[in-house]
């Protein structure tokens, strides 16, 4: 199984996470992040969403992020699935599943991966409300979440 999948088809995040564990009985901890499409955003009901991406670059960007996580923590497996194209409310948008022997590494790596994906991987969301379509704006909190990891990296380095 490749660790990264970008797909126009609906996917089952739970089956993906189960597969990650099933291949390795040394796995003691799995942390999943599942991003679900909400039926509400910025105060408005949302009835549909279209996810655009940059084919080619998307896969490269995700592979780079996974390689970075694997170099920082002891991981036994990573699976990222990201939906593109048209979605309906309550469908999964993204799964980031991380398997490790112990839980600390799995938690750190999973949150790092989704924080970086949110700011470094070329996906764009457009949502449909009763007033028509609109592009979702980038959130400052996502930038702040990414910046946090950079501070941690420079801390790690200065402690070496």
């Amino acid at each position: 199984m490749e660790s990264i999948l970008v797909t126009t088809e609906p996917f089952d995040p739970h089956a993906e996470s189960a597969a990650l564990h099933a291949r390795n009985p040394a796995v003691g901890a799995v942390v999943d992040f599942i991003g679900w499409m909400r039926d509400f955003n910025e105060g408005d009901p949302v009835t549909a969403m279209t996810l655009e991406h940059y084919p080619g670059m998307t896969e490269k960007a995700l592979q780079r992020i996974v390689a970075e996580a694997e170099s920082r923590w002891d991981l036994l497996g990573v699976r990222i699935v990201h939906r593109v194209g048209e979605l309906k409310p309550s469908e999964p948008i993204v799964l980031v599943a991380v398997a490790s022997a112990h839980r600390g590494d799995a938690f750190r790596a999973c949150e790092f991966l989704i924080d970086y994906l949110k700011t470094r991987a070329p996906f764009w969301k457009k949502e449909t409300t009763r007033d028509g379509e609109r592009w979702v704006q980038a959130r400052h909190s996502d930038r702040a979440a990414e910046a946090r990891w950079k501070e941690e990296i420079s801390k790690d380095t200065s402690q070496d």
Partner: protein, 86 residues
């Protein structure tokens, strides 16, 4: 020299196309910012799409880049708004 341009998401809609080939003076090595400046100079929807207060990201050959990074013949420069996946 030729630069392959790609536009995504709201920027693609604002300029009304998803790609084009941009000719540049031979032996120059323009930065991504230089290219953006020339696109802005087209005026109209281009001036609006590339207005200085419009946050923009860029990638050269499918790697995120700083606006100061320089291009060479045949490079692919992608321009797009801040990403919102996940």
């Amino acid at each position: 020299m030729n630069i392959q341009l790609r536009y995504f998401a709201s920027l693609r809609e604002a300029v009304g196309r998803d790609s084009e080939t941009l000719e540049w003076e031979p032996d120059a090595s323009p930065s991504a910012a230089d290219v953006i400046e020339r696109l802005r100079a087209r005026g109209g929807r281009w001036a609006e799409a590339f207005a200085a207060d419009n946050p923009l990201m860029c990638a050269i050959n499918q790697e995120m880049c700083d606006p100061g990074q320089r291009l060479k013949e045949g490079d692919e420069l992608a321009l797009f708004p801040p990403v919102t996946g996940g």
